[in-house]
Structures are given as C-alpha cells and as structure tokens.
C-alpha cells in the first residue's frame, strides 16, 4: 500500500503515544499548506491514512507533531515543557508506488524519526 502513515511512541513509558495532535502539510511554493489535522488513536496511529495511496504525489510533505502538548497532558507532568514543543518532520515522496511510514519516537527531551515500514 502506498501513501503516508505514522505512529507515535512514547519512548519514556514504552507505550503508544495516544491523543497526540499532528498537522499534515504539503509544500506549496515557498510555504506549507495544511492538508489536515489528525489525532493519534489509542494505538498511537491514525484511524485514517495520513495520505491515501490514490492521493500520493511526488513532493515535499510535513508532519508537525505536537510533542510538548502531548507530554503536558501526561499524568504527573508539569505544565512546563522546557525543550521540545512542536516537532516538524519534513520528507519527500519520491516514488508514488512506495509507502512512506514515518514514526515519531519521543520523550520530553528527545525525538527520533525514520522511514519505517
């Protein structure tokens, strides 16, 4: 299956990152055009694909993960997120026949992303 998907994991607890807001945008000239805002489900994934296979086009895309807000809502967390707030991940679809799985592994102090499968 082609298209784009994501998966948020809370590396501090070893649990899915449920309820994280993600803004999905596409490159439009010099800026970014918001396509949709998603919220991760209980498994840290999105109920709908980030980008469906038939909508995939070669180009630049951005997933903006609201990491700071996510950790502020965790039990026992302070209101202060001193290091990470929103984390943008920008990547290209270079072949529309391929699938792009772009996970976000995060703690309040670190994040990691990669082309997954």
């Amino acid at each position: 299956m082609a298209g784009i998907s994501t998966h948020v994991l809370n590396s501090g607890t070893g649990r899915p990152g449920a309820g994280m807001r993600i803004d999905f945008s596409v490159r439009d000239g010099d800026g970014w055009k918001l396509v949709k805002t998603l919220t991760t489900n209980a498994d840290g994934r999105t109920d709908q694909p980030v980008l469906a296979p038939d909508a995939a086009k070669v180009g630049q895309y951005e997933l903006l993960f609201h990491v700071g807000d996510f950790f502020r809502r965790q039990p026992g967390a302070g209101n202060d997120m001193p290091f990470l707030d929103t984390v943008p991940v920008r990547f290209a679809i270079f072949d529309t026949q391929q699938h792009y799985h772009v996970p976000m592994l995060c703690t309040p102090w670190s994040c990691s992303t990669y082309r997954g499968s």
């Binding site: 990470l84 943008p88 290209a92 072949d95």
Partner: protein, 162 residues
C-alpha cells in the same frame, strides 16, 4: 596523510583512526572524517548552546554539514547565522553564548541531502530527507543546552545531550 608506499602493516600501530584507510587501500574523495578525537566533556561550562552532528550511516562525525540557526519571533523565523560543522561535527565556537543565550524557540536547519550527495551516497530524487529542521526551546538561561543530532539518509534523532 598517507602515501601509496605505506603497507597495511605500517598502518597497524596507528590505531583506529587509520584503520578505515587501510581497509580501502586508498582515501576516497570526500570520505567521511576519520574518528580522531575523543569525546568532549562540557561539565561546569557557562550557559551556552552547542551542537554535535553524528553521521550514523558512516560512523563518523557529521563534518562539513551546512546549517542555519534561526529564532522564532512569534510565528516568524529569523535567521541568526549560517555555519558549517567542523571536522569533529561540532562548531568551533558555541552557537549562542552569554547575552546571546536567550530563552525562546529556535530551529536548526540541516542541509542533509547536500551532505550525503557530497559523499557520493546513493539517494533517490528527491531524497527522503533534504533539509532537516531541528526545533527546540531554551527556557532556562542559567542552564546550557547541548544538542546531539544523529542522522542517516533515512532518519535522524536529536536530544538534549550533555
């Protein structure tokens, strides 16, 4: 640094830094920087922003990476400086120091595609990652922040280091 007359045996006492050269027999153009430096401890240093880029694809410092440092003013991103990482994947001077080390939202933009293209790494076009934003906050000007950035052509991670 090396000459064709040197045999593999001659490299052996020289340690890890030269080992990669011996294995290949010659130094490839734009080869990743050999690991010739020990880790740097920054304990007890005054508040500052520093960074270290590590190329985990080649197992080397991320040397010669072109980077922009910008600061957010509301929703607007203002370029503070452009620089290139040194041979150790760091910068010769702190990115922000003393009065310049102010709370705020900052972003480093790494020219990752150019970095790997210059090393001859096979990449799709456009590459999966091209310009990588590393967004972070400075909230306490009394505490220094060291940004460690680990990257490959297909992924990266960054964290508050030490």
């Amino acid at each position: 640094m090396t000459s064709p007359a040197l045999t593999r045996r001659a490299f052996l006492p020289a340690g890890l830094a030269l080992g990669s050269l011996a294995a290949g027999g010659a130094v490839a153009q734009n080869a990743p920087t050999a690991l010739a430096t020990a880790p740097v401890s920054q304990v007890d240093l005054s508040p500052r922003l520093t960074m270290h880029a590590i190329d985990t694809h080649n197992g080397s410092p991320g040397a010669g990476m072109k980077v922009q440092l910008s600061r957010y003013d509301g929703d607007d991103l203002h370029l503070l400086r452009r620089f290139e990482t040194n041979k150790g994947g760091r910068t010769d001077e702190p990115l922000l120091l003393d009065a310049a080390y102010q709370p705020g939202r900052y972003e480093l933009l790494l020219q990752l595609e150019d970095y790997f293209a210059a090393r001859g790494t096979p990449l799709p076009k456009p590459n999966f990652l091209s310009q990588v934003p590393v967004r972070f906050r400075i909230t306490n000007p009394a505490e220094r922040i060291h940004l460690a950035i680990l990257f490959t052509p297909w992924g990266y991670s960054y964290y508050r280091g030490s």
